[in-house]
Amino acid sequence: MQRIAITVNGRETGLEVEPRTLLVHYLRDKLNLTGTHVGCDTGQCGACTVLLDGQSVKSCMLLAVQADGGSVDTVEGLAKDGQYHPVQEGFWEKHGLQCGFCTPGLLMTSIQLLRDHPDPSEAQIRHAIEGNLCRCTGYQNIIEAIKYAGGKMRDAPRE
């Protein structure tokens, strides 16, 4: 067992884990943050995407101990003071989700994408979300959602 300290959604967490514990299981089972989902076992689907020190990562492909001392952001931390993050708003406005299982991972990927490309083209969006599989939407409304969010963030940058 190893004691690790990870800040999750701004809160410090300190728990003992076995070194083989995946970061996604640390979040889901140790912290009960079940918003981050597991959809595959080969790092393809991206349902487990979170931000680690601001970078989008697949939390099923990381051990919790690798995040020791770091800062993780999950979907549960996106809304602030009852206000949705623009990416959440975009997905709601544009029907960018159906079953919702892939959605938390896509929201986190979108944040990284819009930071790197504040006004992305459709081709850039499709390329950037290749690591997030969706089986329900066919992706078209997800692209609209991200464009919407980008527009909102350009008009009124957060903080």
Binding site: E18, R20, T21, H25, R28, D29, N32, L33, T34, G35, T36, H37, V38, G39, C40, D41, T42, Q44, C45, A47, T74, V75, E76, L78, A79, Y84, Q88, F91, W92, E93, H95, L97, Q98, C99, G100, F101, C102, T103, P104, L107, I125, R126, H127, I129, E130, G131, N132, L133, C134, R135, C136, T137, G138, Y139, Q140, N141, I142, I143
Partner: protein
């Protein structure tokens, strides 16, 4: 019956109320359930496609750290029963093999469960799996369904000779005469390949057994909680009314979460034995072997016609791979749901369909989005294109020539099996032709061909049968269930409304659509209406969500229950207004005396009055709640025309979809945003079958496409935009006039894509290629044709 108020929300693109919990990570998926003292189950699965189990030793596993119990197949004796086949297709010589939750003496497919461990957590459970010792004596395996029915093939079940689970035949007219007298015939052998449904959420279950009360609670990733409850009663021996099944949020299903599987039975057994809640969740590679697969038909098909293009006959012989066992709904998919709709949009007076249901040493197949109808549409749409090529006729005009005329509805197909409710096939064709500027498109193609570019245009005009189903039809077809749907509409004393539905949406958005229906009917603000589903304790009875039935059958039940509430409320309002019901109207969301706009009663005021019941009209009982069971008189028949435009790269064989246009008619539309979403997702899955996906087994029955690294689920960069058009031809068979749309996109699209690619390759003389049209396959065909 009172008139409906003018509708306001019906037809509006209202944002979904499902979304707030899903975009904040507060959904309630099965693997999110957290119970005190919960243990975790893991399943050991066979590495062989066909083998005898000569020895299984769980001793070491039982002693492993954190292990609470280990079960092998023989340990299930007396505890849980076997898995049901609940579609007993009649007149087909159906033989149903015994289907255990875990194998005991013999495994019959790669991935079949042979033992399971319950431990304190998933890591420890998987550690213990490695300690279970199993000795297998491998047997010859067969995964090709044509080979499996030949004499001498490995026998998968002793009691089912030649692995033939059923032979189904359905015909109309005189197809032998049609082919004898035909002026032209086209034949083709078609492969409709095996697919892995791949809902993003894998399957799972959590069971909690209360030893004091005898109540069992089962959370499960199911599309049909009531069906699951019914069968769990049979399997566990616990009375049905003591079982509660909960499926609040389910991460996609596409048919693969309809069946009753062993996993949920095993957690129920373990929870009862251990006195602790037990959870289980597939990982993806487990899902790929343990969850039902889709499609897998080999079809010999032929069309008879006159030189002028009039189709006279259709004959199909198909071999459907059922896998090693018959899954819950499996026999009905390649038979009724396929064979009845094969004539499609066309008037074909002579049809003959024979389907062999063959057991094979691989994962059981069952419904997958479209379930039989994509297989049927693919047959007829490929044949029509082949006929067009043979006759050098334009494929759009050949289709139009053979369409069932718009004034011939209701139209009964030659076999007598189905009566299409309403249709306007030229309407969707014309709209699609206009959207693609068809004459200019063909000129563009001509120019491209002169430049040596391989550009193709492919059509798919489809009609499908959905809105499962009239209960009498279900019985006639051998489906062991009714297919009506139920709803309760309850107005609470404070005036808020609860709508319960026996449907079980898992992404389709009916929490929103049903609130729209109820709000219109009751004059209550939509935000004051909750829609409840997916919990057998909160919803009386139901059949679940599949077969594009939720809006048609479920929505109709909601509408009629709400109307009953409004009718009762009108009587109470009249009493409150001290007048007779004939003097009262429901307008602008309130009950008022006709012509007098001053005094009125809201639904909330009426509800409180009825709850107190201090003074009620004669013969009217207290409270304001009504239920309705809607049993449709017929299926519904959405239809449309999809057009796919592709360019094939000569040097690589890669197919690029330049445009994808879909014009669909699903009758009246409750929420156009939801309809578009279903079409986007459905079309994506059909394109994926046409170009990318296939579940590949080697001849030893090993699944080669066993993870997402090998099975090509399309990414965002693999798919085009979808341009959608709509026409609206209401169905007469439900009060809303709606038809289903959940599967239509998938039903139409594979044929459109394949027809487009074959049109692109036509100048090279290539007649047909099977799906998936991967670049390597297309490139090799180009090479063989000398078209470098």
């Amino acid at each position: 019956m009172a008139m409906a108020p003018p509708t306001k929300l019906f037809g509006a693109a209202i944002k979904r109320r499902e979304d707030p919990r899903l975009i904040t990570g507060k959904g309630s998926f099965t693997d999110d359930v957290r119970l005190v003292n919960m243990a975790t189950m893991a399943v050991l699965r066979s590495p062989h496609a066909h083998a005898r189990i000569t020895r299984i030793d769980v001793g070491a596993a039982r002693k492993a750290p954190g292990v609470l119990a280990v079960y092998a197949g023989r340990d299930l004796e007396g505890k849980i029963g076997t898995m049901p086949c609940a579609w007993l297709v009649p007149n087909a010589g159906l033989k149903v093999p015994v289907y255990p939750a875990l194998a005991s003496d013999r495994v019959r497919y790669y991935g079949e469960g042979v033992a399971m461990v319950v431990a304190e957590d998933g890591y420890l459970a998987r550690d213990a799996l490695d300690l279970i010792q199993v000795d297998y004596e491998p047997l010859p395996a067969v995964v090709d369904q044509e080979k499996a029915v030949q004499p001498g093939a490995p026998q998968i079940h002793q009691e089912i000779p030649n692995n033939l689970a059923f032979t189904w035949h359905f015909a109309g007219g005189d197809v032998d005469a049609a082919f004898r007298d035909a002026e032209v015939t086209v034949q083709q052998r078609l492969l409709n390949q095996r697919l892995l449904p791949t809902a993003l959420e894998t399957r799972g279950a959590v069971a909690e057994f209360n030893g004091g009360s005898g109540d069992l609670t089962l959370w499960c990733t199911t599309q049909n909680p009531h069906i699951l409850r019914f069968h769990m009663a049979n399997i566990t021996g616990i009375a049905e009314h003591k079982i509660r099944v909960i499926a609040k949020d389910v991460g996609g299903g596409f048919g693969s979460k309809i069946p009753v599987y062993g996993g949920e039975a095993l957690v129920c057994m373990a929870a009862r034995d251990l006195g602790r809640p037990v959870r289980w969740s597939e990982d993806r590679s487990e899902n790929y072997v343990a969850t039902t697969h889709g499609r897998d038909h080999i079809q010999d098909v032929e069309l008879a016609a006159r030189r002028d293009g009039t189709i006279t006959g259709l004959r199909i012989k198909a071999w459907a791979s059922m896998g090693a066992y018959l899954s819950t709904a499996a026999p009905g998919v390649p038979t009724w749901l396929f064979g009845l709709i094969v004539p499609g949009c066309y008037h074909i007076p002579n049809t003959d369909v024979t389907v062999y249901g063959v057991l094979t040493n691989n994962t059981p197949t069952d419904a997958y989005r479209g379930a039989g109808r994509p297989e049927a549409t693919y047959v007829i749409e490929r044949l029509v294109d082949l006929l067009a090529g043979e006759l050098r006729m334009d494929p759009a005009e050949l289709r139009r020539k053979n369409f069932i005329p718009t004034d011939k509805f209701p139209y009964t197909v030659a076999s007598g099996g189905l009566t299409y409710d309403s249709g306007n096939y030229p309407g969707t064709l014309d709209k699609a032709l206009a959207m693609v500027s068809y004459p200019a498109l063909r000129r563009e193609q001509e120019q491209a061909r002169q430049q040596g570019r391989l550009m193709g245009v492919g059509f798919s005009t489809y009609v499908e049968v959905c809105g499962l189903a009239p209960s009498a039809a279900a019985g006639f077809m051998g489906f062991q269930g009714g297919l009506w749907e139920s709803a309760i509409v309850r107005v609470h004393p404070h005036g808020k409304v609860t709508v319960t539905t026996g449907a079980s949406p898992h992404g389709q958005g009916e929490e929103t659509a049903f609130a729209q229906i109820a709000a219109d009917e009751l004059g209550v603000a939509i935000d004051d209406i909750e829609v409840v589903h997916g919990d057998t304790d909160r919803v009386q009875f139901g059949w679940g969500t599949y077969g594009s039935r939720t809006a048609t059958v479920g929505g109709a039940a909601v509408s009629m229950a709400a109307r009953k509430v409004r009718e009762k409320a009108e009587k109470v309002a009249a009493h409150m207004l001290e007048t007779s019901p004939q003097n009262v109207e429901f307008a602008d969301g309130v009950f008022r005396i006709k012509g007098a706009t001053g005094v009125n009663k809201t639904m909330a005021e009426v509800a409180l009055h009825a709850h107190l019941a201090w003074s009620m009209p004669e013969g009217v009982t207290p409270g304001l709640e009504e239920s309705h069971f809607f049993d449709p008189a017929n299926f519904v028949y959405p239809f449309g025309c999809h057009v796919c435009i592709v360019e094939v790269e000569r040097d690589t064989g890669e197919v690029e979809i330049k445009r994808y246009v879909g014009v669909d008619d699903c009758g009246k539309v409750i929420n156009p945003m939801l309809v578009d979403g279903q079409l986007h997702g459905g079309i994506a899955q059909g394109i994926a079958q046409a170009l990318y996906e296939e579940a590949v087994y080697d001849e030893n029955g090993q699944l080669l496409t066993g993870t997402m690294m090998d099975y090509a689920i399309p990414k965002a960069s693999d798919l085009p935009r979808y341009e959608l058009g709509r026409t609206e031809t209401p169905s007469p068979h439900n009060p809303l006039g709606v038809k289903g749309i959940g599967e239509a996109g998938t039903i139409a699209s594979s044929a459109a894509v394949v027809n487009a690619v074959m049109d692109a390759l036509a100048p090279l003389g290539i007649k047909h290629l099977d799906m998936p049209l991967k670049a390597e396959k297309v490139w090799q065909a180009i090479q063989r044709a000398g078209g470098k």
